[in-house]
């Protein structure tokens, strides 16, 4: 299967928010009301029940022009995902579609992923079990992995009427992105394709009209070394140590039992 990615051409977005509603509709997410901020933007950023948000950025360009910049903000599905590295329960993993998904059964709601996410798109949702006890689960965009498995496109892409959101073969999309970039360069000299290589690229690639920082995106994100060390070295080692310790304990118990056994029965052949 060829690699597929989601492509967001922000210069085609007209801010209609159909992607936001389509996401809620498909994923059965409840409303998440926030106080009016004075902007047309509905939510400050994505949250546990709002997996994508259109940000409305009022931007003054260097030559004094006003640009109203929209961006479909959601999980970028990093190839090297900080949330996956941070998760102590191995609840976060990559699917064959490149999407980063959280296994709700394994998630214990510790929130390490939310704290470490490069793009601040993971949040904990609070639920109540049948006894009224509160528990938390990390929530974010799944790239509609359940739809991808059935050969459908993500719900947000399906709804988009300006072809700002596209889900297609990676090579095709990236080539198209270059063409689009050359077309918008005249109006947006700072335009760029956002596919940060510090995290080995993302499964959602943006065509931005302005520098990433204008959109609140890190210019050159990286997964902190401490997390790589933690996940790729410390954690497996810890598990190995756990195994060794268990072996040693069980081994000693057995050895002790045998010793005791042989002591008790003096050869112990009476009932063999």
């Amino acid at each position: 299967m060829a690699d597929y990615i989601k492509f967001v051409d922000v210069t085609k977005c007209d801010g209609c928010r159909a992607c936001m509603v389509a996401c809620k509709n498909w994923n059965d997410l409840p409303t998440a009301t926030e106080e009016y901020s004075g902007s047309i933007q509905s939510h400050a950023k994505v949250n546990a029940h709002t997996w994508n948000v259109i940000t409305y950025n009022e931007h003054e360009t260097t030559n004094g022009n006003f640009e109203w910049l929209f961006r479909h903000q959601s999980c970028l599905h990093c190839v090297e995902a900080a949330c996956e590295k941070a998760c102590p329960e191995d609840a976060i993993s990559h699917t064959k579609f490149g999407s980063v998904v959280i296994d709700a059964d394994k998630c214990v709601g510790c929130g390490y992923c939310a704290q470490n996410c490069t793009f601040d798109v993971v949040e904990l949702a609070t639920y109540k079990d049948k006894h009224g006890k509160e528990y938390r689960k990390a929530q974010k965009c799944t790239l509609c992995t359940d739809r991808l498995e059935e050969g459908l496109q993500p719900a947000c892409v399906t709804a988009c009427h300006t072809e700002c959101l596209v889900y297609d073969e990676k090579n095709k999309v990236l080539a198209e992105a270059e063409v689009r970039l050359s077309k918008i360069k005249e109006r947006f000299p700072n335009a760029n394709i956002y596919n940060p290589q510090g995290i080995k690229g993302t499964t959602t690639v943006y065509l931005l009209a302005e520098k990433p920082s204008v959109y609140g995106l890190p210019e050159n994100p990286k997964v902190p070394l401490s997390q790589v060390v933690w996940k790729d070295y410390a954690q497996p080692l810890g598990k190995a140590m756990f195994g060794v310790t268990t072996m040693a304990v069980v081994g000693s118990v057995i050895a002790h039992a045998i010793k005791k056994d042989s002591g008790d029965h003096k050869g112990g052949q009476d009932h063999e």
Partner: protein
């Protein structure tokens, strides 16, 4: 230490070692983490095509419903107008059915009253028919300046975007030719 391991002891020992290995194996297994997805929510549902009730564009919508509820709605990819896409308002169409605020019975507010009350359909239809008949009879103009006009200016009719072309045509016939209305409008033109 002399170890006289009997058959029984040997079996005990190998069992224990196997168990230990199993525990260690679980601890090491970080490759089984896999995307967990529940049942595909529209797997067994047949979509019903409909027209969006909001603006005049008239986008096609597919409605996925089970016996009790509307589960999902999305743009109809086969519809020539929207080709599968949908705006944010049209995407909320599921709530027309699922919303708690949905009115499921005819409501009546008597003249001069400040509150709505639930009535049955029979009452509602009778009331509408009676009022139209009375108003039309009272206000009907047969002739104006020697010209036969056969119209009433006391009733207006407002159509909506949920009506398709043929329904609009039929409504037009009923209200203009049938009842003699001249104030006929459509929500999409307002």
């Amino acid at each position: 230490m002399e170890m006289n391991v009997t058959r029984r002891q040997f079996l005990k020992l190998s069992g224990a070692v196997a168990a230990t290995l199993a525990i260690v194996e679980l601890g090491f297994d970080d490759k089984t983490a896999k995307a967990k997805s529940g049942e595909f929510k529209i797997a067994k549902l047949k979509p019903t095509p409909t027209i969006c009730p909001y603006c005049s564009v008239g986008c096609g919508i597919l409605v996925y419903a089970n016996e009790n509820d509307v589960v999902y709605t999305e743009g109809d990819p086969d519809h020539p107008i929207n080709e599968g896409t949908l705006c944010s308002k049209g995407t909320t169409v599921r709530q027309v059915y699922t919303s708690e605020k949905r009115i499921t019975k005819p409501m009546y507010r008597a003249p001069g009253s400040s509150k709505w009350e639930e009535v049955d359909w029979e009452f509602a239809f009778d009331k509408v028919v009676k009022n139209i008949k009375e108003t039309r009879d009272k206000s009907f103009i047969h002739q104006e300046g020697g010209v036969t006009v056969n119209r009433t200016d006391a009733i207006a009719y407002l159509g909506g975007a949920a009506l398709d072309n043929e329904e609009c045509h039929l409504n037009h016939k009923l209200f203009r030719a049938g009842l003699g209305l001249s104030y006929i409008e459509h929500q999409a033109r307002i």
